[in-house]
């Protein structure tokens, strides 16, 4: 009787090792080189709207759709954390009408997508100086964080009213309060104590592996200043509403191509 053995990992008759292709990833991406934490500065919504003679609201709504696409791709491709710079401390100086529009869009987006977050096992964390936000939005954020805190498949960190300098200062502030209660000795503050108090400590992977900034600008604009020390920087030319799967794949492939250093 002849025997044939089917080996599901594709070994030939001679038992040669053959390279496995991960079919859940687009061609070219390697599973072991997928970043765990990706950060995005979502720049270009207003320019996108202006270039189409549309109201700035359309730009932000298109940007929200782009964000949903990227979240889906992150979940599909095994990225564990996505941080997005939604509203910086400097953005408070924008026209009041525009700021109110953005706050209402945040509120609506969180309400509409709560079901998706729960269904897809997504944890939501919001970082930034939330005391400046409208009270209704603050309450919504607290409820959403509480509701999703045990979700483990993917974490979306939304930075609102945030700046990197604010994050460092609030970390020092927390340490000062701990010192007042005798939990920290004066003179004992070091880099690891500050790290523990940064707002990104809500994540298992607080330091982004890859930062993407859209719209062709080559700066980090006060986003996660402390956390980005060894993060690969990718500056994409397209505006945020146009940043889709192809562009995201390009960023991930560029990340895989580069060597990384960790202060070594």
């Amino acid at each position: 009787m002849e025997h044939f053995t089917l080996n599901h990992h594709g070994k030939g008759e001679e038992g040669e090792e053959e390279e496995e292709v991960d079919e859940t990833l687009p061609l070219g991406l390697r599973r072991e080189a997928i970043p765990r934490h990706v950060a995005v500065i979502m720049d270009g919504n207003r320019r996108w709207a202006r270039s189409r003679d549309l109201h700035v609201r359309s730009g932000y709504e298109a940007g929200a759709r782009s964000l949903r696409t990227i979240v889906e791709l992150c979940c599909k491709w095994g990225i564990k954390v996505l941080s997005v710079f939604a509203f910086s401390s400097d953005n408070w100086f924008r026209p009041k009408v525009e700021v109110e529009l953005l706050m209402s869009l945040f509120e609506r987006g969180m309400q509409e997508d709560t079901g998706i977050f729960l269904r897809e096992n997504i944890r939501i964390s919001v970082i930034g100086d939330l005391a400046k936000l409208p009270e209704a939005l603050q309450e919504l954020i607290l409820n959403l964080e509480e509701t999703t805190k045990n979700n483990t498949h993917f974490q979306l960190i939304v930075a609102v009213s945030y700046s990197g300098q604010y994050d460092v200062v609030q970390a020092c502030q927390r340490l000062a309060l701990k010192a007042k209660h005798g939990l920290v000795e004066p003179g004992d503050i070091d880099t690891s104590l500050i790290e523990q108090e940064l707002e990104t400590n809500c994540s298992e992977f607080p330091h982004p592996d890859l930062l993407i900034r859209t719209s062709g600008e080559f700066r980090i604009s006060n986003f996660m200043l402390w956390q980005l020390a060894y993060t690969e920087l990718f500056f994409a030319q397209s505006l945020w509403p146009d940043f889709g799967e192809a562009e995201f794949l390009k960023a991930l492939l560029a990340f895989q191509q580069r060597q990384r250093r960790y202060g070594g």
């Binding site: 044939f4 089917l6 070219g28 880099t191 020390a229 990718f234 202060g263």
Partner: protein, 272 residues
Amino acid sequence: MKSLTPPLLRCLCLNRSMDFIRPKRMLYFWIDKIRNVLLRLSWHLVHSIINLCYFTTGMVHALESHLISRGLLRKYKSLHISKIRYLAIVIESEDACRTSNVIELLQWLAALGIKHVSLYDNEGLLKKSKDIILEKFDGAVLFQDTHENNVLLDQPRMTLEFVSFYDGKEAVARAANVLLMKYIKSGGIGSNQGEQIFTESQMSEALKTVGSGGPEPDLLLIYGPARCHLGFPAWRMRYTEIQHMGPLTCMTYGSLIKAIYRFTTVRQNYGK
């Protein structure tokens, strides 16, 4: 004729079904094999295309850099250098000992009229070599932290600052200790949760106190294989333009001109 006994019948049925299953299994085996081969070929093809794209892009950049160095591209002939008040250079620590490359880079920058340069490497090797660099590059003075910004800009010679990880996160930790001491000495007023105890300007002042209060660079050039700033004092780079230049050993005058030109065409709105 001997009748077929049940065991014999079962054996015959088994053999018949094995006759059906065997070719089917062979078929699935070969389909699986061919599919794997095709997938692997596609994967290698994609990677080859990507590598070819990077190679082509590299060649184009090299040619452009050569043409810029020769002054053959008109648009790079006049640079608005006055837009760069402070320039930072980040160098991989592995290359930081190549003082001849560093000095050549500084000479190019001096020729272009750049007045203040911060030289950074994570491990502080450039700091250790600063005497050698200042001796061999006699067009510069050492940056003193006590200089006010307007004094820096008025210097006829280039001001050089040597920076390392000690001036980055570690400096922020030292500054935090300074703030904490002041807070405790003041009795801890404003100490309720949620009230602001420290401000960003207080942190900036504290950084100056600990000797790490340099200016915010307008442009930061990264010389190294990785496109990351390797721990350059983050407090100082909120709105700094960042350009990756490739390894220090591959630096060219043309790519430097191109990076500076690009910076001078940028318009920032600082989030507003």
